[in-house]
């Protein structure tokens, strides 16, 4: 697709903003650490206090990297789904993907308690959370897609996504009833969403999921552009619809599933970031949109995390609450201002 203007300036700005947000994210926290020592620690130099070095390298840095991975991955999965479903309101949360992931994790954590026994201990390793979560979101996405093939009305698909949310909540309630307090607490904390407390091993798994998903979305960007004209036009230009759809479904479930497993169900990033980006750079060309959405998602997530940390205080707010508090008004504002979402 030919684009008439140059986006170099926008990308330079986004990269600078990302760098600033990243430094800000690493610098601010419950313990005040001078900027000099932060740079020293990041570059492997001498740090005034060894505990600061530990805080930065083993807590804040993995958290900041997680924020980048989560923000970019969720935003990309939202973009892919909005194009696939030809619906500007699609996103991992609205379509019930996050609910599916929650259900997977709930069955794993709470079910281990309910069904008890030997498998309980085995199941709660890092990989099993990822698999349960990805599987949950994959099943929901397949169900949503099966519905899409039968029903042309996209509003119906969104309602079905909401229904999946309700079913999940109900199943979780039933499971909670039979679970003990410790497991329930583990699940509730997971559902608050959290970027912190990730081991470097966890960060590695998360980056494999995110990078795979993002790489595939770059590969299909040509077909995504064709899909902007609708399925029939895309077909007439040689796009193999079934194959592309399946690839997009797998990609979004890897992204949304993997991220939800590590960081919990984080709301609104997937829905709001592609919209804000589209309004701002006024193009639907995926070759421009994908990198822009990716950068913008990372920046927003880093900033949300800074807010959630309540710098210089001992408290940390659930990240999910912050993204919703920021995301929901943005979506409302976009709808009210434009009366329709640019797509």
């Amino acid at each position: 697709m030919e684009t008439s203007r140059s986006y170099k300036g926008i990308f330079v700005l986004l990269i600078i903003l990302l760098a600033v947000a990243f430094i800000l994210n690493v610098s601010l926290g419950s313990v005040g650490i001078p900027l000099k020592d932060i740079f020293a620690s990041l570059s492997g130099g001498e740090v005034s206090k060894s505990s600061w070095d530990y805080i930065i390298i083993d807590y804040r840095l993995p958290k900041a990297i997680t924020a980048v991975l989560v923000g970019s991955g969720l935003a990309i999965s939202g973009l892919l789904m909005q194009t696939l479903f030809r619906n500007p309101l699609a996103g991992p949360f609205v379509l019930g993907l996050s609910s599916g992931a929650s259900l997977g994790v709930a069955i794993l954590i709470l079910g281990a308690g309910a069904f008890g026994g030997v498998i309980g201990g085995l199941l709660t390793s890092e990989w099993s959370l990822v698999i349960a979560s990805a599987l949950g979101s994959f099943i929901v996405l397949l169900a949503v897609l099966a519905v899409t093939l039968r029903i042309k009305d996209t509003m119906a698909i969104l309602i079905i996504g909401l229904m999946f949310g309700s079913v999940t909540a109900a199943v979780v309630a039933v499971l909670s009833y039979f679970s003990d307090a410790e497991q329930l607490q583990q699940y509730v904390f997971w559902s608050f969403g959290s970027l912190g407390n990730q081991s470097w091993n966890g960060v590695l798994i998360l980056s494999i999921c995110t990078i795979t998903g993002i790489a595939i979305s770059f590969l299909v960007s040509k077909s995504l552009n064709a899909l902007l004209l609708g399925e029939n036009y895309a077909k007439s230009m040689g796009v193999r619809i079934k194959r592309t759809t399946l690839l997009l479904i797998i990609t979004t479930s890897i992204l949304a599933g993997g991220i939800t497993a590590f960081a919990g169900p984080i709301a609104f990033i997937g829905l709001a970031v592609p919209h804000i980006t589209r309004q701002w750079i006024t193009t639907s060309n995926h070759r421009i949109l994908i990198p822009a959405v990716l950068l913008f998602g990372s920046i927003i997530m880093l900033i949300c995390d800074v807010v959630a940390q309540l710098p210089f205080s001992e408290y940390t707010l659930p990240i999910n609450a912050i993204t919703s508090l920021i995301g929901a008004p943005v979506v409302i504002w976009l709808l009210v201002r434009k009366r329709k979402l640019l797509f």
């Binding site: 030919e2 684009t3 008439s4 040509k222 899909l227 029939n232 007439s236 193009t283 797509f343």
Partner: protein, 264 residues
């Protein structure tokens, strides 16, 4: 010289079209056979619901045929790889693009997709084809506009430009003149006529503008309840087939003026 001119581009052989539903086949039209050569303008006419869109969808490979065969450049339609087919046949659909946020330039350049690499990068040739398509359809001035800003007539020209940019020897258009006033209808049909004459493309379009179609088309496909007739407009008039098109108690065809009239 005539042998090249007679080169068959689009061929149907005993074609039956319709829908496969649960356990039963709904045949809409059958025994359709034609041979269309290079540079032919063909109009497809018939009453509402007679199967014009179904025929176009079947010819473009979007819908399965029930019986018979479709040949594109003497090769059976189904044997083409989707991308190869997309370099030979393009479509202009009645549906508006899903995304209205695209600029005209972006929209038209999407037509180059079957020719570009996996990244969709446009080469110099691709850019030239896009410029050519915009010029042919007189839409160069619109290229920076977004699709949602365009009028129906402008959007139709842009949709044709996209098909032209795809650079295929066959273009199928589904009712390209709907929602347009008389001037814009004539304008679009003249554009199609010029394209067949100047570029040698084979253009097949469905339309309700039978009067205009009779004046401009080289061949016509006339779909009625009973049969599907294919001939030059003059021949169809002589044989009186236009009278079969609509119920005769309401509409009649005057073969002297080549126009339809309403029975009072």
């Amino acid at each position: 010289m005539t042998s090249e001119k007679e080169h068959i581009i689009l061929k149907a052989d005993g074609l039956s079209i319709g829908y496969f539903s649960k356990k039963k086949i709904d045949v809409i039209a059958k025994e359709i056979s034609f041979n269309f050569s290079e540079g032919t303008l063909i109009s497809l006419v018939g009453a509402n619901g007679i199967g014009k869109s179904t025929l176009l969808r079947t010819l473009s490979g979007m819908q399965k045929r029930i019986e018979g065969n479709v040949f594109i450049h003497n090769k059976q339609l189904e044997t083409y790889h989707p991308i190869e087919l997309a370099t030979l046949l393009s479509v202009v659909l009645t549906e508006a693009p899903t995304s209205k946020n695209l600029s005209v330039l972006e929209f038209v350049s999407l037509g180059r997709q079957p020719h570009t690499n996996w990244m969709g990068n446009l080469s110099t040739t691709d850019r030239e084809k896009v410029v050519w398509a915009l010029t042919q359809t007189d839409t160069t001035a619109l290229k920076q506009r977004s699709c949602f800003e365009l009028s129906d007539g402008q959007m139709q020209r842009v949709a044709i430009a996209r098909a032209l940019a795809q650079d295929t020897s066959i273009i199928l258009l589904d009712e390209p003149t709907t929602h347009l006033d008389l001037y814009h209808r004539a304008n679009i049909l003249k554009l199609l006529k010029r394209l067949t004459q100047e570029t040698g493309k084979t253009v097949l379009f469905s339309t309700h503008e039978i009067d205009l179609a009779i004046q401009l088309s080289d061949q016509m496909i006339l779909m009625t309840e009973k049969e599907t007739l294919i001939d030059a407009p003059g021949q169809l008039i002589i044989k009186g087939h236009f009278n079969d098109l609509f119920p005769s108690d309401t509409i009649f065809f005057d073969s002297d003026t080549r126009r339809f009239g309403i029975k009072k």
